[in-house]
C-alpha cells in the first residue's frame, strides 16, 4: 500500500460530507474487529483518498457512498489476490473471504495486512484458505416413506362421523345445543 497522505484535501464535496464519510468508515472498519487504531486510521485515509478521486468523476453519489464503495473494491482486490486460484464467484469470494479472515483469527493476528494486497503473509494466506465452513456433512439420501396404517372398522365409522360433522358445522353445533337443552330440561324436571 502506498504511504498515506495525511493532508487530505478533496476537490469536490463539502467538509461536512467528508467528515461524515470519515465517521462512517471508522465505524465500518471497526465492525471488522480491527482494534488497532493506527491501522484503522491508515485504512480510513487510504479509502478516503480513493473516494475523493471517485467523487471528482461522479458527484451525484455522496462521499459516504463512494467511501464504502471504495472499501468494497479494496476488499475484493485483496480477497481476489488471496483466493486467486480457488475458482470462487464474486458472491462466494466476498462472503466466504470475509468469513475466512474471521475464522483464521485475522483481525487479531494480521490486522496490519488487512486490505494490503501488496503484502500478503504466507501464513495468513494459508490460514484464510483453509478456514473451513461446513453447514452439514455430505448427504446420504434415504427413503423414509410413511406406510398406511389400517385403522380398523371403529376408526372408519368415527372418521365418517367426524367428516360429516366437520363438513356441516351447523349439524355439529345443533348436536351440542341438543345436549345442552337436554341437560337443562333434566335439571328443570329435577327441581320442578
Amino acid at each position: 500500500m502506498e504511504a498515506v497522505n495525511i493532508q487530505f484535501a478533496p476537490e469536490t464535496g463539502t467538509e461536512e460530507e467528508w467528515n461524515e464519510a470519515y465517521a462512517r468508515l471508522a465505524d465500518y472498519f471497526r465492525s471488522y474487529q480491527l482494534h488497532n487504531r493506527i491501522r484503522r486510521t491508515q485504512l480510513i485515509l487510504e479509502t478516503l483518498r480513493r473516494a475523493a478521486a471517485a467523487h471528482k468523476t461522479n458527484t451525484k453519489k455522496t462521499p459516504t457512498a463512494h467511501s464504502i464503495e471504495q472499501a468494497r473494491i479494496m476488499l475484493k482486490e485483496w480477497l481476489g489476490a488471496i483466493y486467486s486460484d480457488m475458482n470462487l464467484n464474486e458472491s462466494q469470494l466476498e462472503a466466504g473471504g470475509r468469513l475466512g479472515f474471521h475464522l483464521s483469527g485475522g483481525p487479531a493476528r494480521w490486522p496490519n495486512f488487512f486490505l494490503d494486497k501488496e503484502n500478503l503473509p504466507q501464513d495468513m494466506i494459508e490460514a484464510m484458505r483453509s478456514a473451513v465452513r461446513a453447514s452439514g456433512p455430505g448427504m446420504q439420501v434415504s427413503k423414509m416413506t410413511p406406510r398406511d396404517i389400517d385403522l380398523g372398522r371403529v376408526s372408519e365409522v368415527a372418521e365418517d362421523t367426524f367428516d360429516t360433522l366437520g363438513r356441516h358445522p351447523i349439524l355439529r353445533y345443533s348436536i351440542l345445543i341438543g345436549i345442552v337443552v337436554a341437560v337443562l330440561t333434566y335439571l328443570y324436571l329435577l327441581f320442578r
Partner: protein
C-alpha cells in the same frame, strides 16, 4: 468421521427384548392388581348408589367413575411396584445396565451416532450453551470420536435464525468442532418437529447407526450418552431406548415444586413403568437413543384421517413412533436413570397450560390409532393411557356434576350396607391417592436416596407436605382447563405451533387474570348452587371449590420467584450438587447474563441488525444460504422492501417481507453495502443508532449469545 453402515434389517432380534414369559408374568401380576382395585372400587360405588335402584344419573356417575378409578389404580400400583423394585435385595432380571460389564466402558465405540437437536425459535443462548456442555462432557469420556451433533432449525423468526447461525459458527470456532457440529435450517418447516427429524433421517440417516434426540432444553452427560450407545450395541433388539429426563433450572415456585416432585416421586414411577411396560415402553420425543435403520424403514408417520385438530398431521409423534417400532419387532425400552438426563419445565401455570393444550390435542389424536390393526396390545394400552391422561379431567368434571345432581335429590335414609360401602370406598380412595406419596417419602427418610444428611431428609419431608398443598390447589384448576382442551379438540378447534417459554420473565398479571377469571366464576357459581342443594354437600366439595375460587392468586403465587429456596424447601440434588454438565452450562449462562446489552429495540432485532451490518455475520449467512437459480419474488419487489427497511426501519416490514429479503443472497449482500453507504439523514433512526452503537456492545459479533470459553 468413520461411519460404518448399520446392520441389515433382518428378523427381529431377541437381545434387549424381554423374554415373553417374564413380560407376560409381570403384566398379569400388575394388571390383576389394577383390575382387582378397579373392580372393588366400582362394586363399592355400585353398592352405595344402588340402594334404592339405579337412576340414569347414577349409572352416569358409575360410568365416569370406573375409568377414573382404573387410572388411579394404574398410578398407585406402578408406584408401589417401583418402590418394591427399588428396595428388593436382588437384581432386576431385565435391568439393562447389567448387560454392560466393567470392561465394556473402556472399549472404543465404533458405532456412528448423530446427536440431533430440533429447534424452533428457542432461546439461542440456552440451546448452544447446552450443546457446548454436552459436547465437552462427551469429550471428557474420551470416546466422542464417532459422535456428530446436528442443530436442526425450523425457526421462522429472522433474528432467531441469524443468531443461531452466528452462535453455531462461534461454538465451532471455540471448540474447534468444525465437521463435528452441524447446523441445518429448513426453508419450509413441513410437519413440524417430526418432519424436521424425518428430513434429517432422509438426508443423513444412512451415515449413522444411532440417533440421539434432544429437545432444545435437554441436557445429557457424556457418560450417559456413551453408556446408552454401548447398551444399544449390546442389545441389538432395542429400537428405542428412552431415559428419564429429570427437571432442572426451575426458578419459580411452580417450576421448583414440579422439579422437586419429579425428583422425589419420579424414580419409583419410572421403575414401576419399566416393570410392566418391559419391551413396549413409550418414547417421549427426546433424551432417547434410536436405532436409525428400522426407524427410517418403519417409523415414517402417515397423516391421520380427517382434518386437524383431531386428524391430519400427527402432533404427538413420539408415542406413534414407539408403537411403529414395536410393531416392526424392535423393543422400546425405558432406561431407569438417576443422573445424566435432564430437561426444563414450564415456569408458570399459564405456560404449563399452553404446553398441555398441545399435548392434549396430540394425545386425543391417538384415538384413531387405538383400533388400528397390527399394534402390540401394550401399544394400544399406551395410547389409551395417553388419552385418559387428559380425558380423565373431563370425566372428573362429569363425576362432580353427577354428584351435584345426586346431592340435589338425596335418598331419605341410607341403609347400613350402603353407608359401609361409602366409608370403605372413601378410605380406599384416600389410600390410593396418598399411599404412594407417603411410601416414597418414608423410603427417602429411611434410605436417604436423595440426601444423606438427616436435616436434608427432614426438609424433603416438609417440602413434600408443602407440595401437597400446591398440587391440591392446582388439580381442580387443571381439571377445568384440560376438560376445555378435550372439548375444544373434539369440536375442531386446533392449536398453533408456538415456542415453549422455558424461563420465567415475571408474572403477567393481566394474562393471569384473563386466563383464570372464568375458573373463579365457575367456583363461585358452583358454591352458590351447592349452598342451595345441601350444606353437607357444599362442605364435601369445598376443597375443590376453594381451589377454583383461588385460581388467580394461586396462579400468581406459583408463577413467582419466592419458592422457599433460602429456607431449603423443594431442594433437589441437581441444585445442591449440580453434575459437571449442568455446572458448566450454568457458569456460561451466568457469564452471558452479565453482558452489556443494546437498547431494547436493537436487541429485539439483533439478528437482523447483525446480518445487515456485520461483515462477518453477513458473510456467514450468505455462505450458508443455498443459491437458487430462480427466486420466488421479483427483483424489483426485493429492492423496494430493502429500500423501505433502510428508510423506515425493520418495524415497517412484516415478517414475510423480511424473510423474503433474508432468503436471497444478492439482496443480503446488497443490503449490507447500501446501509453502510447511506448518509445519516437517509437512514431510519433505528439504523443510525445501530451503526453508532453496534461496535460498542460486544468485542466480537459472534459472542453476543455465547460465553467466551476458548479451548486451551
Amino acid at each position: 468421521m468413520s461411519t460404518p453402515a448399520a446392520p441389515a434389517v433382518t428378523s427381529p432380534i431377541s437381545t434387549g427384548m424381554p423374554p415373553q414369559r417374564i413380560a407376560r408374568m409381570r403384566r398379569a401380576t400388575f394388571f390383576s392388581f389394577v383390575g382387582l382395585g378397579t373392580i372393588v372400587g366400582t362394586w363399592l360405588m355400585y353398592v352405595y348408589l344402588s340402594e334404592r335402584g339405579m337412576r340414569w344419573s347414577e349409572w352416569g356417575l358409575l360410568a365416569v367413575f370406573t375409568p377414573l378409578y382404573y387410572q388411579l389404580n394404574v398410578g398407585f400400583w406402578t408406584a408401589l411396584f417401583g418402590l418394591w423394585l427399588m428396595n428388593r435385595p436382588g437384581h432386576d432380571a431385565l435391568d439393562l445396565w447389567r448387560t454392560l460389564k466393567p470392561e465394556d466402558h473402556e472399549e472404543a465405540i465404533t458405532a456412528s451416532t448423530a446427536i440431533i437437536m430440533p429447534v424452533f425459535n428457542e432461546d439461542v443462548t440456552r440451546v448452544f450453551e447446552g450443546l457446548r456442555s454436552i459436547y465437552l462432557s462427551l469429550e471428557q469420556t474420551g470416546h466422542s470420536k464417532n459422535f456428530d451433533f446436528f442443530i436442526l432449525s425450523d425457526s421462522n423468526q429472522t433474528s432467531q435464525w441469524i443468531e443461531e447461525e452466528a452462535a453455531w459458527l462461534e461454538l465451532c470456532r471455540q471448540l474447534n468442532a468444525f465437521g463435528r457440529i452441524f447446523y441445518r435450517k429448513r426453508r419450509k418447516p413441513i410437519n413440524r418437529k417430526s418432519g424436521n427429524v424425518s428430513d434429517f433421517c432422509r438426508r443423513w440417516g444412512k451415515r449413522y447407526r444411532y440417533m440421539l434426540v434432544l429437545d432444545a432444553d435437554s441436557l445429557m452427560s457424556g457418560g450417559l450418552i456413551t453408556s446408552m450407545t454401548r447398551i444399544m450395541e449390546k442389545n441389538t433388539g432395542i429400537g428405542i431406548l428412552q431415559t428419564f429426563p429429570k427437571q432442572i433450572g426451575a426458578e419459580t415456585l411452580l417450576g421448583r415444586v414440579m422439579q422437586f416432585a419429579q425428583a422425589l416421586y419420579g424414580p419409583p414411577f419410572m421403575a414401576g413403568l419399566d416393570y410392566w411396560q418391559c419391551g413396549e415402553a413409550n418414547f417421549w420425543g427426546h433424551n432417547a437413543i434410536i436405532r436409525l435403520e428400522p426407524f427410517i424403514k418403519f417409523c415414517a408417520l402417515p397423516a391421520l384421517p380427517g382434518k386437524e385438530p383431531f386428524g391430519g398431521h400427527i402432533l404427538s409423534h413420539d408415542f406413534v413412533e414407539a408403537a411403529l417400532m414395536r410393531k416392526a419387532g424392535w423393543a422400546v425400552r425405558l432406561l431407569p436413570t438417576n443422573r445424566g438426563s435432564y430437561e426444563e419445565g414450564p415456569p408458570t401455570l399459564v405456560d404449563m397450560l399452553k404446553r398441555d393444550r398441545r399435548w392434549c390435542q396430540g394425545n386425543m389424536q391417538h384415538f384413531w390409532l387405538v383400533f388400528a390393526k397390527g399394534w402390540h396390545p401394550m401399544s394400544r394400552v399406551n395410547f389409551i393411557h395417553g388419552i385418559l391422561s387428559y380425558a380423565s379431567s373431563l370425566l372428573w368434571f362429569f363425576f362432580l356434576l353427577f354428584t351435584t345432581f345426586l346431592a340435589a335429590t338425596p335418598v331419605p335414609q341410607l341403609d347400613p350396607q350402603a353407608m359401609q360401602a361409602q366409608q370403605i370406598l372413601l378410605g380406599l380412595t384416600a389410600t390410593l391417592i396418598f399411599l404412594p406419596k407417603t411410601a416414597t417419602l418414608l423410603d427417602e427418610v429411611f434410605t436417604g436416596r436423595l440426601f444423606k444428611p438427616l436435616k436434608m431428609r427432614l426438609l424433603t419431608f416438609m417440602s413434600s407436605m408443602a407440595d401437597t398443598v400446591v398440587f391440591t390447589l392446582m388439580a381442580p384448576v387443571l381439571m377445568i382447563f384440560h376438560s376445555q382442551f378435550v372439548v375444544y379438540t373434539v369440536l375442531g378447534k386446533g392449536v398453533r405451533w408456538v415456542t415453549q417459554r422455558r424461563k420465567a420473565e415475571g408474572v403477567d398479571w393481566a394474562e393471569v387474570f384473563f386466563t383464570f377469571w372464568v375458573v373463579c366464576l365457575i367456583g363461585i357459581v358452583w358454591a352458590i348452587l351447592g349452598w342451595f342443594v345441601s350444606h353437607a354437600f357444599l362442605l364435601w366439595i369445598s376443597p375443590i371449590l376453594i381451589a377454583l375460587f383461588l385460581a388467580i392468586p394461586m396462579a400468581i403465587v406459583v408463577s413467582g420467584r419466592s419458592s422457599g429456596h433460602r429456607f431449603g424447601f423443594f431442594l433437589t440434588t441437581e441444585e445442591t450438587e449440580p453434575p459437571s454438565v449442568l455446572a458448566t452450562m450454568n457458569d456460561n449462562l451466568a457469564e452471558i447474563k452479565g453482558r452489556i446489552h443494546l437498547p431494547p429495540e436493537l436487541e429485539k432485532h439483533h439478528g437482523l441488525l447483525q446480518v445487515c451490518l456485520d461483515p462477518y455475520v453477513n458473510g456467514l449467512h450468505v455462505s450458508l444460504l443455498r443459491r437458487r437459480k430462480s427466486i420466488d419474488v421479483s427483483r424489483s419487489y426485493l429492492n423496494e422492501i430493502a429500500q423501505r427497511m433502510i428508510q423506515l426501519g425493520p418495524q415497517s416490514l412484516n415478517a414475510q417481507e423480511i424473510k423474503a429479503m433474508i432468503h436471497d443472497t444478492e439482496t443480503v449482500t446488497d443490503l449490507h453495502y447500501r446501509l453502510w453507504s447511506a448518509r445519516d439523514h437517509e437512514l431510519a433512526p433505528f439504523w443510525a443508532t445501530a451503526i453508532r452503537q453496534y461496535n460498542l456492545a460486544a468485542s466480537s459479533p459472534f459472542t453476543h449469545t455465547l460465553a467466551q470459553r476458548e479451548l486451551a
